[in-house]
Symmetry: C2
Subunit: 169 residues, 2 copies
DNA sequence: GTCCTTTAGTTCGATGAACAGACCAAACCA
DNA sequence: TGGTTTGGTCTGTTCATCGAACTAAAGGAC
C-alpha cells in the first residue's frame, strides 16, 4: 500500500481490491501467473516492465499474501488460494476488454477441460458451471496478433495449456 | 489513453480493459455512477480526488464512450451501455475485496429486486440468474464503517436504492 | 435585467512514482 | 574454479498526482 495507491476513506470492497491489485502492471503480473509464468526474468521478458517496478510489485504481492516465493535458489512466484479467487473477475475483465476492442474475435479463449467453452458469463456452455482455473485450458483466439511480440514466453503462451501449470520454455 | 497508462505490446483483453479503466480513481468513478452519482461536485465530495484529476478522468471516460455528458447547463454524467457491461466484473471485484478484508461482513449488499440476494458469483440466490443492474437494489452491509465519512453523498448512499437511478441528495 | 451563490472546471508549484539503463551479487553450470 | 545466467538494486530524468488558489459560466432571488 504505497503512497498514492490507497483509498483510505473509501468504505468499499472495490477500493480494498484496488489497494491490492490496482497499481500499474500488478494485474498483468497476476494474469501471467494464471497463464503459467513463474520466474522474474520471464515476467520481465513478457511484460516490458522496468526491473525496479517488477521487483517492487512482486514484493508487494508476496507481502499481501497473493503470491508465494517458492524455492531456496532463484525463486518461483506462485499464486495463493486468495489470488486464485480473483480468477472469475479477471476472466470477465478479459472478455469485456476483448469484446470492446475486437468484437467477436477474442485474443484468447478458455475451455472447460473435457467439457465445453467458457462463455460471456464465465460459465461452461456445456455444463453451466464456473470451473476452477485448474480445470481450464487456454488457447490463442482468433483476435490474437502474433506480430506484437516474439519472445520465448509469448511463444510458449501460444501453445494450448492449462491455467496454473508452470510454462514450458 | 494517456502516457504511462497503456500497454501497447500486450496482446490481451485485460490490458485493453486496463487502458480504459486502469488509472487511479477511474474505477471508483464508475462505481459511483452505478450507485447513482451524476455531478462533478458530488464525485469530488465523495471521492476526495483532486479536481484536476477528476476533470481529466471524466473527459477520458466520455472520450472512450463509457460516460455520456448529458444536459446543456451543468452536466450530468451517465453510464453508456458499454460501461454497464462492466457491472458483473465490478461486482466480483467488490465481493473479492470485501471478503479479503472483512470476511463474512460485506460493506455493501446487492439484491435482485422482488426476488433474492446476489451471492458470491453475482447470481441471485433465488432465481439463479445474473440480473441487470437496473433490477438490483443496494443496501449498506454489516461491514460498513459509518465513521469514515459523513458528507451528503455518503449519507444518501446509505439509503437502500436501485443501481443506475440518480441519487436523491 | 442585476447581483449573488453555486457549479464546474483550470492553473500552478511541490511531491512522489515510473522509466531506461547501468551496475552488482548470488546461483548455477561446465 | 571461472564464466554465465538470474534476480535483483541504484540513479537521474520524465511524468503523474496533489492541494490550493483562481476563474468563468450557470442558476436563483429580487
Amino acid at each position: 500500500m504505497a503512497l498514492g495507491t490507497d483509498y483510505p476513506r473509501q468504505d468499499c470492497g472495490i477500493a480494498r481490491s484496488l489497494e491490492l491489485i490496482g497499481e500499474r502492471w500488478t494485474l498483468l503480473i497476476l494474469r501471467d501467473c494464471f497463464l503459467g509464468v513463474r520466474r522474474f526474468t520471464d515476467f520481465q521478458t513478457h511484460l516490458d516492465v522496468s526491473r525496479g517496478v517488477l521487483a517492487s510489485r512482486l514484493d508487494a504481492l508476496v507481502a499481501e499474501g497473493l503470491l508465494e516465493r517458492v524455492g531456496d535458489g532463484h525463486p518461483s512466484y506462485e499464486l495463493t488460494e486468495d489470488a486464485i479467487g480473483l480468477w472469475p473477475a479477471l476472466l470477465l475483465l478479459a472478455q469485456w476488454g476483448d469484446e470492446r476492442t475486437s468484437p467477436g474475435r477474442p485474443r484468447r479463449t478458455f475451455h472447460h477441460v473435457g467439457c465445453g467453452t467458457l462463455g460471456r458469463d464465465g460459465r461452461c456452455t456445456t455444463c453451466d458451471t464456473a470451473p476452477h482455473p485448474r480445470d481450464v485450458e487456454t488457447r490463442r483466439g482468433p483476435g490474437a496478433d502474433p506480430t506484437l511480440r516474439d519472445d520465448a514466453v509469448s511463444r510458449a503462451l501460444r501453445v494450448p495449456h492449462r491455467l496454473l501449470e508452470p510454462l514450458q520454455t
